[in-house]
């Protein structure tokens, strides 16, 4: 009897296996598996692209959109400003390695110390950033307004005012604008604020200090600055006609700021 049971079990196991095998071999089974796999893949894709999809269907999220716009514009202008001595369109500059580098302290004469051209360097750079990003942010706001209106929202935009502040460790950009979005409910925004991590503040303060030294003594000692600020590299490149190009680099973030100075220049040869 046991043997029979055994045989029965064995038979049923074999039967099961046979049925499973034949199940897998059948076309219907294969099709089912593929359909299940397809559903799983589509579900994963949907989960991944859902946020974008939501934006496309419902329209962009105002705060995220504007903040991203501010951040991108600011980063774009910073790259240019840092290479040109803090000015977007330098007037009084020296050409160095393809960049027009503005003079912070300058004299056109020989044997004389320079005169400060930019005593408020930080303020000047803040104004440059503001003037650059203003039309871009304005465009972003108008684009946002059009997109939301296309999705059926009613949008009102007030007058815009931008304030840029450069502080230790970051650059703060605040866009003050009254924005109201009405669809089923009403959403209001008074301002959009972005803090962009940057060590520009330290580089600007150091540059002002170097320029001050050039104005007082006609030259500066870069080693002293580097010993006091181990994270900053200060390179001094003296040019043939008496100018000096300073390149300040934050070694941790690789952020650079370069500017020019012309102080206590000596003419070549015997004339002077």
């Amino acid at each position: 009897m046991k043997k029979k049971r055994k045989n029965k079990n064995t038979t049923s196991n074999l039967e099961f296996l046979y049925r499973r095998g034949s199940f897998l071999n059948s076309k219907h089974a294969q099709l089912t598996i593929f359909i299940i796999l397809a559903i799983v893949i589509i579900a994963i894709l949907l989960i991944l692209i859902y946020p974008k999809l939501k934006t496309i269907i419902a329209g962009p999220v105002p705060a995220d959109y504007i903040e991203r716009c501010i951040e991108d514009s600011t980063k774009e202008v910073l790259k240019k400003l840092e290479m040109q001595g803090g000015t977007l369109n330098p007037e009084n500059y020296i050409l160095y390695q393809g960049n027009k580098i503005d003079y912070i302290c300058y004299t056109n004469e020989y044997y004389k110390r320079c005169m400060m051209q930019k005593p408020f360097l930080k303020q000047d750079i803040e104004e440059e950033i503001t003037s650059f990003i203003e039309p871009r942010v304005n465009e972003c706001l108008n684009n946002l307004k059009s997109e939301l209106e296309k999705k059926g929202s009613s949008v009102s935009l007030g007058k815009m005012n931008i304030k840029t502040t450069i502080v230790p460790n970051y650059i703060g950009v605040t866009v003050n604008v009254r924005m109201t979005v009405t669809k089923e409910g009403t959403e209001s925004f008074d301002k959009f604020k972005v803090n962009i991590p940057s060590q520009l503040y330290d580089l600007i303060m150091l540059s002002s200090s170097i320029a001050n030294y050039e104005a007082r003594y006609g030259d500066s000692d870069t080693l002293t600055y580097m010993l006091y600020y181990p994270d900053i590299r200060v390179e001094k490149k003296k040019q043939s006609e008496g100018s000096t190009v300073y390149i300040l680099t934050n070694k941790l973030t690789n952020e650079k700021f370069q500017f020019a100075s012309r102080s206590l220049a000596w003419p070549s040869g015997y004339i002077g």
Binding site: N92, Y93, K122, Q123, M226, G269, Y270
Partner: protein, 544 residues
């Protein structure tokens, strides 16, 4: 009588006209001279420059005087109230344009620019009061400005003398701790059973007897303003200097142990896996460890700041500087186009700083004896060659306090009757014999490739030698005087003096290329050229 009166009147009229015309002419002449105008802004965008009238921007003011004599371009101190910065040598116009406060003191000797000691928790800065307020606001601290401290060293000493220890307080009914100064501790608001914080001088927050939620860990950290690697407790407070052998030593987590009593004192402990007693002045500082040099505990190590195998083939300490050159230097040997360079070792990196071009600056170096060996320092300074050729005495020539010259014997400069006057000391040429001549030790560079003074300068070393012959019978002649002038060695000697004046004569450039275009050697009107042996000698002299 009438005729006489007419004559007098016409004479007066003529004189008046002459005077007026003269005045007009002199005014035109004066204003036509270069650099006679103060331009508020030049066409190139520079503020307050003395320049020719045509360089002044028409939309701004200009006056036919020096800028120092004007009100709008007078130099002074520009005080910026938002940052508390004082910018020196600033034209009034530039300062006012940006809303700054201008003061008639080019070196900023005004009350707003008075420096004092700004104490920021456990650090200090020697700055102005407004700057102190700004810095304090950045760190969220109350302004602590001490006017009585008038130098930086004393300011730093103030922070080091402050009492430091464990500040125990309650927060959300938890007894916690912050490692800080006594003053800062008193400002902390305690909630719960402790009405005010308790300060335990010289204690660490991880001390068991304080019964706080802060305890020892195996983590390390860098502390702002400090060089060393510190242990970090579970509350994020720094403990004592990292010493792997003491990680589980309870006594090491109890009280502050001085740097001098910690591991590896007096050494830089660079790259040490077990000791974090870094020393900035010995060439190490706390930094996050690289993958290859992980310490035994934690993530931070003493990074080696010294430089190894630098461009001069030597190792240098952090902060050392040395000179390098494009070729030989001194005694007029500097090759054409060469410059002096200052190399600096900072934080393990070699940085190159060129001195001024045209050898208007030279690099000088010196050595200092210290307890940890010799420390080398270099600097670029002005090349004082300008009055070398004016010197007629050897002692004056070689006076290194006043000038950078060298004395050469066997030749002398021919001077005009007026003597040692003018820029070139009245020199008109060079001649054999005499007491000697004074020449620049580091010859200045000249713009010899364009129209300028190069030709005039180099011609000062023009040399002429009259060789005398005695005619014999049958047309033979024998040299009896200055016969050495016929030799190549004479030409080489004169060329050497020529090259010492500046970028003159036949010489080598910094790339090692020799050209003879700067010198001409003739005997009896016939051009001669220097032999290859002499050229090789010149090249080796240049050291390129």
């Amino acid at each position: 009588m009438k005729m006489k009166n007419k004559l007098i009147k016409s004479k007066i009229l003529i004189c008046t006209v002459i005077i007026v015309i003269s005045l007009l002419l002199s005014f035109i002449l004066i204003s036509g001279q270069q650099g006679d105008y103060c331009c508020e802004k030049t066409t190139s965008g520079a503020w307050c420059q003395n320049a020719p009238e045509e360089e002044c921007n028409e939309n701004f003011r200009k006056t036919p005087t020096s800028c120092d004599a004007t009100s709008f371009c007078k130099l002074g101190c520009c005080y910026e109230s938002s940052e508390g910065l004082c910018m020196e040598n600033t034209p009034q116009r530039v300062c006012n344009e940006k809303g700054g406060v201008w003061a008639d003191s080019p070196e900023c000797d005004i009350p707003q620019c008075e420096l004092g000691c700004c104490v920021l928790d456990n650090q200090a800065a020697f700055v102005t009061l407004t700057r102190c307020k700004k810095l304090s606001s950045f760190y969220g601290l109350e302004t602590d400005f001490r006017r009585n401290i008038d130098n930086e060293l004393e300011c730093i000493a103030v922070t080091q003398a402050q009492d430091k220890g464990a500040c125990v307080y309650e927060e959300d009914f938890t007894r916690t701790c912050k490692f800080t100064t006594r003053e800062e501790c008193m400002k902390i608001k305690s909630t719960g059973n402790l009405t005010k914080p308790e300060f335990y001088k010289d204690y660490l927050c991880s001390a068991e007897e304080l019964a706080t939620n802060c305890g020892p860990t195996h983590d390390t950290m860098c502390v702002e303003g400090k060089d060393e690697v510190y242990f970090r407790d579970s509350c994020g407070n720094p403990a004592n200097i990292y010493d792997a052998s003491k990680v589980n030593d309870k006594s090491y987590w109890k009280k502050i142990i001085d740097k001098s009593e910690s591991c590896g004192y007096g050494k830089n402990n660079a790259n040490s896996k077990t000791c974090g007693n870094c020393d900035y002045y010995l060439g190490s500082i706390c930094k996050k460890a690289e993958r290859e040099s992980k310490p035994k505990y934690g993530e931070y190590i003493c990074q080696d700041l010294n430089c190894y195998d630098t461009s001069d083939g030597k190792n240098h300490k952090h902060g050392e500087s040395w000179c390098e050159y494009d070729g030989a230097i001194g005694e007029g040997k500097d090759p054409v186009g060469s410059r002096h360079f200052r190399h600096i070792c900072v934080a393990g990196e070699e940085i190159v700083e060129p001195c001024a071009d045209f050898r208007q600056e030279i690099c000088i170096e010196g050595k200092i004896e210290t307890s940890s060996g010799i420390f080398q320092e270099a600097a670029c300074r002005v090349n004082r060659w300008q009055d070398c050729i004016k010197q007629t005495e050897k002692d004056d020539c070689e006076n290194t306090d006043k000038r950078d010259c060298f004395w050469i014997e066997g030749v002398h400069f021919i001077r005009t009757e007026e003597g040692n006057t003018g820029q070139q000391g009245g020199v008109t040429g060079l001649a054999e014999g005499g007491e000697g001549a004074c020449l620049p030790n580091y010859p200045p560079g000249l713009k010899f490739w364009e129209e300028g003074d190069a030709e005039g300068i180099c011609s000062l070393a023009n040399a002429q030698c009259i060789v005398k012959y005695k005619k014999g019978l049958f047309g033979s002649k024998k040299c009896i005087e200055n016969c050495e002038c016929l030799e190549e060695s004479w030409a080489e000697k004169m060329n050497k003096i020529c090259t010492s004046l500046g970028d003159c004569g036949g010489y080598v450039n910094w790339q090692g290329k020799f050209t003879q275009d700067g010198a001409e050697w003739k005997i009896a009107g016939k051009k001669k050229t220097l032999s290859q042996a002499i050229i090789s000698s010149i090249k080796s002299r240049a050291g390129v």
